[in-house]
Every structure is written in structure tokens, then in C-alpha cells.
């Protein structure tokens, strides 16, 4: 990637364009974070000024009087559990599809791929009735299963690609060494695709974390709400307290932004994995 760096006015034009785009991207986010420290009066009076002081009142309102911390916890539980089970089951399916020749193998992989094209939210009504029947309404477990099902196709797709690329000699070698199929998978093959699993995990964790459609319908008690869903009701409650609203948005965005900044390379690889692979 290290081609020669462009010199001269062309490089300057490129930089100007990119810097302008950077401002357009970052400025609204910075304004959102800054407004979280302001009072209503400041937001109306000096919307573009820096906050007068590092005033955490709005955040305290959120922390003490709303369920936002609770929502954060629920979202974390749902996201982590979904992604963990997703990776286990997704790896199993991808492993079977990519590492074995068997009759119907193409059917099985098409079966998983078909899920990529099915917009599950259109089946929300039957899904509700079914979850109800299974006792999974108002239960984080219900959400977790839906997210796993929704994310399985892309996970299988991504992991199959990586698993196919592994040399079959490794597996043959382990077979000659006497390892069972299970052991070959767990001890030899899967450790080799951990980077791919991280990518698939991130690819699906972001939309799961951000989803508000399914919780909107399947979660009813406030204690069970997830962050994105909780925000919508929080907005109803604080509709005219702009400082608190901005603080709430900032707080909701913060965890993902921090993880993103620390792990940006993996995030980018992960989020674009489905499209590039």
C-alpha cells in the first residue's frame, strides 16, 4: 500500500477535500457531546460555544433518574450472549459446509445463505406469536435467539470463506495423528480462524447493539429494555430538556465509540467483511 505519496498542489487539494469531509463528519458528533454539558439556556443562547464548564448535571440526571444504566447493562448482556452463541453455532455450520464433502452440502449452504435475503422484521407478527408460545416474550433470551437467527447467515457466509481457505493437509495431518473430528475442529482448525471470528463477531455485534425494532415489540417491562429502545422512551420523557437529551445520546454512543477507537482496524475489517469477502 505504500505507493509514493503525491506531492504538489494535487496532494493539497486532496487534503482540503478530506479535511472538509472530516469536519462534516466530526462536527455534529462533537456538538452532540458538547451540548450534553450545557443547560437549555446555553443551548439556545450560545449553541456553538464551548460549554461554560464541565457540567455533569445532565449526566447525573440520566444516571440517577432514568433507567439508562440499566438499558446499558441489558444491551451488553444481549449483545455478548448473542455474539457468543452466534459464533459457536455459526462456526459449527460453516465448518460442516466448508470442510466436508457430503451429499446435500450445497443445499445446506444455500439454506443458510437464503437467510441473508429474508427481512425478518416483516415476519414480526408470527414471530411474536411464536415467541409467546415459547415463553420468550419480555425475556432477553427471546431477543438473543432472534439476533442469533438473524446473524447466522452472514456469520456462516464469512466464516465459510475463511475456513475454506485453510489447507486441508492440516486436518489430514491431525487425522493421521489420531485426533477425532471434534478435536481436529476445536484444537487445530478453529484456533486458526479466530481473526475471522472476531470479524464476524463485530460485523454482527454492531447492528445487534443498535437494534431497536425487535425490543420495541418483544420487550415490555422497563427493566428488560435495551439501550436503543430505551432511548426512544427516554426521549418522550425528556422531550424539552435538550441538554439531557444530548447527554443521553452521548452516553448511549460512548461505549461503541470507545471500543471502535481502540479496535478500529478490526471494526473496519469486520463491518466490511460481508461485502468484501
Amino acid at each position: 500500500m505504500q505507493t509514493k505519496r503525491n506531492a504538489g498542489y494535487e496532494a493539497w487539494l486532496v487534503q482540503i477535500f478530506l479535511i472538509a469531509t472530516t469536519i462534516v463528519v466530526l462536527y455534529p458528533i462533537i456538538m452532540m457531546a458538547m451540548s450534553g454539558f450545557k443547560t437549555n439556556a446555553e443551548i439556545f443562547g450560545n449553541p456553538f460555544a464551548l460549554p461554560k464548564s464541565l457540567n455533569f448535571d445532565n449526566y447525573l440526571v440520566i444516571w440517577n433518574t432514568t433507567d439508562v444504566p440499566r438499558f446499558l447493562l441489558n444491551s451488553t448482556i444481549v449483545t455478548l450472549a448473542s455474539v457468543a452463541i452466534l459464533l459457536v453455532t455459526g462456526t459449527m455450520a460453516a465448518y460442516a459446509i466448508s470442510r466436508y464433502r457430503f451429499r446435500g452440502s450445497i443445499m445446506v449452504s444455500l439454506f443458510f445463505l437464503a437467510g441473508l435475503m429474508l427481512p425478518l422484521r416483516l415476519a414480526i407478527i408470527p414471530l411474536f406469536i411464536q415467541l409467546k408460545f415459547m415463553g420468550l416474550i419480555d425475556n432477553l433470551l427471546g431477543l438473543i435467539f432472534i439476533y442469533i437467527a438473524m446473524s447466522l447467515p452472514s456469520t456462516v457466509f464469512i466464516l465459510t470463506g475463511f475456513l475454506r481457505a485453510l489447507p486441508s493437509e492440516l486436518e489430514d495431518s491431525a487425522r493421521v495423528d489420531g485426533a477425532s473430528e471434534f478435536r481436529i475442529m476445536v484444537e487445530i482448525m478453529v484456533p486458526l480462524i479466530t481473526p475471522a471470528m472476531v470479524i464476524a463477531g463485530i460485523y454482527n455485534a454492531v447492528p445487534i447493539w443498535n437494534d431497536f425494532f425487535f425490543p420495541l415489540i418483544f420487550i415490555q417491562t422497563p427493566e428488560m429494555k435495551t439501550l436503543a429502545q430505551g432511548l426512544t422512551s427516554f426521549f418522550g420523557e425528556y422531550s424539552v430538556n435538550f441538554g439531557v437529551l444530548y447527554a443521553g445520546l452521548t452516553l448511549a454512543a460512548l461505549p461503541v465509540v470507545i471500543v471502535f477507537i481502540v479496535q478500529s482496524k478490526r471494526f473496519i475489517a469486520g463491518m466490511t467483511a460481508g461485502a468484501i469477502k
Binding site: 503525491n6 466530526l26 455534529p28 458528533i29 459449527m92 411464536q130 466490511t272
Partner: protein, 317 residues
């Protein structure tokens, strides 16, 4: 010691059987989750759509009457057509604006400017943020009275430009599309960028040696060789456009306000299936029929588009 031929065959069959059981063990759990939580509900939606529903109660089988109602009842198909055309507009605009900007930026980043990594991270930042956050944030920004956008326009003297962005039929959808582009452009940018990086350096350098201009290189070498990325982004944008729900729902509500100018198939489905305060009661039959129509449309079109676009791709190996 003395095994018969049949014993050998049996031993072999046992090995095969063990392998089959192992495969079953691998495939069954994920397949079961997918069947229970995707295929069965999707199938049920189709099943529901051929029944008459009194609100929430299923009554008799009526075949395709629900479909007929949505497609040919003059009032409903007016709403449907309006929503559909809005979805089309969303698709076309996002292709041009969001993906267009992304392409330009990808081409610029491909020149490996200073700060390459930084720009990559920054442009991708909005992508990871929740649509709920982005929707609310921009709804606040675009507020005609308290919003920062209009304050900013006043500050720089563009008083006439300070419009009630989300309130005017002419600007509401466009504002949302810009917000959506702001949210998502980083995604196609990085997909395009990855595609450009995959083009062997020799191709571009050979063209440079042949004296081709940068514009010609972009148009005649990079563009055709990026075709696979264009395909995938087009199909993803298509699916996203026709499922568009979050941004209009959060920013202007369920009715596609003002005056239906931001109505989308997704909103219409939601209203039809569940009802709303103003729009009245729910109808699972019509809702499911609409869902099935949308599903068929999206599915068939994605496949056709993939086929068509893929056939234009250049083999590069």
C-alpha cells in the same frame, strides 16, 4: 481374527455413520435456530396473508383477496404507490449521493494521502453509531426553532436558507437522505477502497507508463475492475432502501409526515399491521400481505440485480 468381507463393510459403514452423525451434530443446532426463528415465521407470514382478519382475529381463508385489496383498492394503492415511489427515490438518491461521495473519497484515499488511517477511522465512525442516536441527534439539529443547522445558517448570513427542513414536503425526505448518507457513506467508502486495493498495482502502473491520465485510469481501469464491489454495494443499498424504516420513523413518525412525503413501504407495513393512534386499528392480514409483497419484490430484485451486475464483472485473476 478372521473377519469376513461383510465385517469389513460393516466397519466401513460404521465409520461413515459416525461421520454423518458428527455432521448432523454440527449442522442441526444452527439450522434449528434458523428454522425456528426465521423460516417458520416467514412461512407463517405467507400463511397469514391469505386469511381474512378482523383486526387481530383470524377468520376465513380468502386466498389472494388481501393482495388484491392492497394492489387494486384505489385508496390503498395510492398510499402504496406513493410509499413505493418514495422508496425508489431513496434508492436512486442514495446510489447517487451516498455512494457517489463514497466513491470519490475512496478514490482519494486510494492515493494514500497523509493521514490515511485517521481519515479511514473518522469516516467510519458514524457507521457504528445506532440509527436511533443518529436519527434523534439530527432531528434535534434540524429543529427549525432550536436546531443547530438553522442557527448556523443564520450565523453565516444565509437567513433564507434556514428552512423547517423536516416539515416541508420538498425538503423532508431529502434531509433524511442526507442524514442517512452522513450516517452510512463510510461503509461504501471502505468497501470501494478495499476493492481498489485489490486491483494489482501493475495494471495501474502499466497504464501510467503508457501515459494515461489519472481520470482515464480511474474510468478505464479502476472502475471496471471494481465491479464486484459496485455489485455488492448496489444490492445492499437496494435492500436497505426498500427496508428503510428507522430514520423516517424516528425523525417524522409513522405517518410519513408531512403529507406522506416521507412515507415508506416499511412505515406502511408497520401502520397496516399494527395500526397507530391516528391511522386506526391493525390488520394482520393486509399487513402480512404487504410484507409478502415486499419480501418477494426485494428478494427477486436482489437476485436479478446480482445476476445482471455480476455478468458485467470482469474476471481478474
Amino acid at each position: 481374527m478372521s473377519m469376513t468381507n461383510a465385517d469389513y463393510e460393516k466397519a466401513k459403514r460404521n465409520r461413515t455413520l459416525k461421520l454423518k452423525l458428527w455432521l448432523l451434530f454440527l449442522i442441526l443446532p444452527p439450522a434449528a435456530i434458523l428454522i425456528v426463528f426465521v423460516f417458520v415465521p416467514m412461512g407463517s407470514a405467507v400463511w397469514y396473508s391469505v386469511f381474512d382478519w378482523d383486526g387481530l382475529v383470524r377468520k376465513e381463508f380468502i386466498g389472494l383477496a388481501n393482495f388484491q385489496d392492497i394492489l387494486f383498492n384505489p385508496l390503498k394503492n395510492k398510499v402504496l404507490f406513493n410509499a413505493f415511489m418514495n422508496n425508489v427515490k431513496v434508492f436512486v438518491s442514495l446510489m447517487l449521493v451516498q455512494n457517489g461521495i463514497a466513491l470519490v473519497i475512496a478514490l482519494l484515499l486510494a492515493r494514500n494521502p497523509k493521514g490515511y488511517r485517521f481519515y479511514q477511522v473518522v469516516f467510519f465512525l458514524p457507521v457504528i453509531l445506532s440509527t436511533v442516536i443518529i436519527g434523534f441527534q439530527w432531528k434535534l439539529f434540524l429543529n427549525p426553532v432550536f436546531g443547530l443547522v438553522n442557527k448556523f445558517l443564520h450565523n453565516i448570513g444565509l437567513h433564507d436558507w434556514a428552512l423547517p427542513w423536516l416539515g416541508l414536503p420538498e425538503t423532508a425526505l431529502n434531509s433524511m437522505l442526507l442524514v442517512n448518507s452522513w450516517h452510512w457513506f463510510g461503509f461504501p467508502t471502505l468497501v470501494f477502497l478495499a476493492a481498489i486495493h485489490r486491483i494489482p498495482k501493475d495494471f495501474i502502473e502499466a497504464a501510467r507508463l503508457d501515459g494515461a491520465s489519472e481520470w482515464r485510469i480511474a474510468r478505464e481501469i479502476i472502475w471496471p475492475l471494481m465491479a464486484p464491489a459496485i455489485t455488492i454495494i448496489t444490492v445492499l443499498t437496494f435492500i436497505g432502501s426498500f427496508n428503510w424504516f428507522e430514520i423516517p420513523y424516528i425523525m417524522n413518525g409513522l405517518e410519513g409526515s408531512p403529507a406522506g412525503s416521507t412515507d415508506m413501504l416499511g412505515l406502511m407495513f408497520y401502520r397496516t399491521a399494527f395500526g397507530s393512534v391516528s391511522a386506526g386499528g391493525s390488520n394482520f392480514g393486509s399487513g402480512s400481505a404487504l410484507a409478502v409483497l415486499m419480501f418477494i419484490f426485494i428478494f427477486v430484485f436482489s437476485i436479478i440485480a446480482t445476476k445482471y451486475l455480476t455478468s458485467r464483472e470482469v474476471e481478474m485473476n
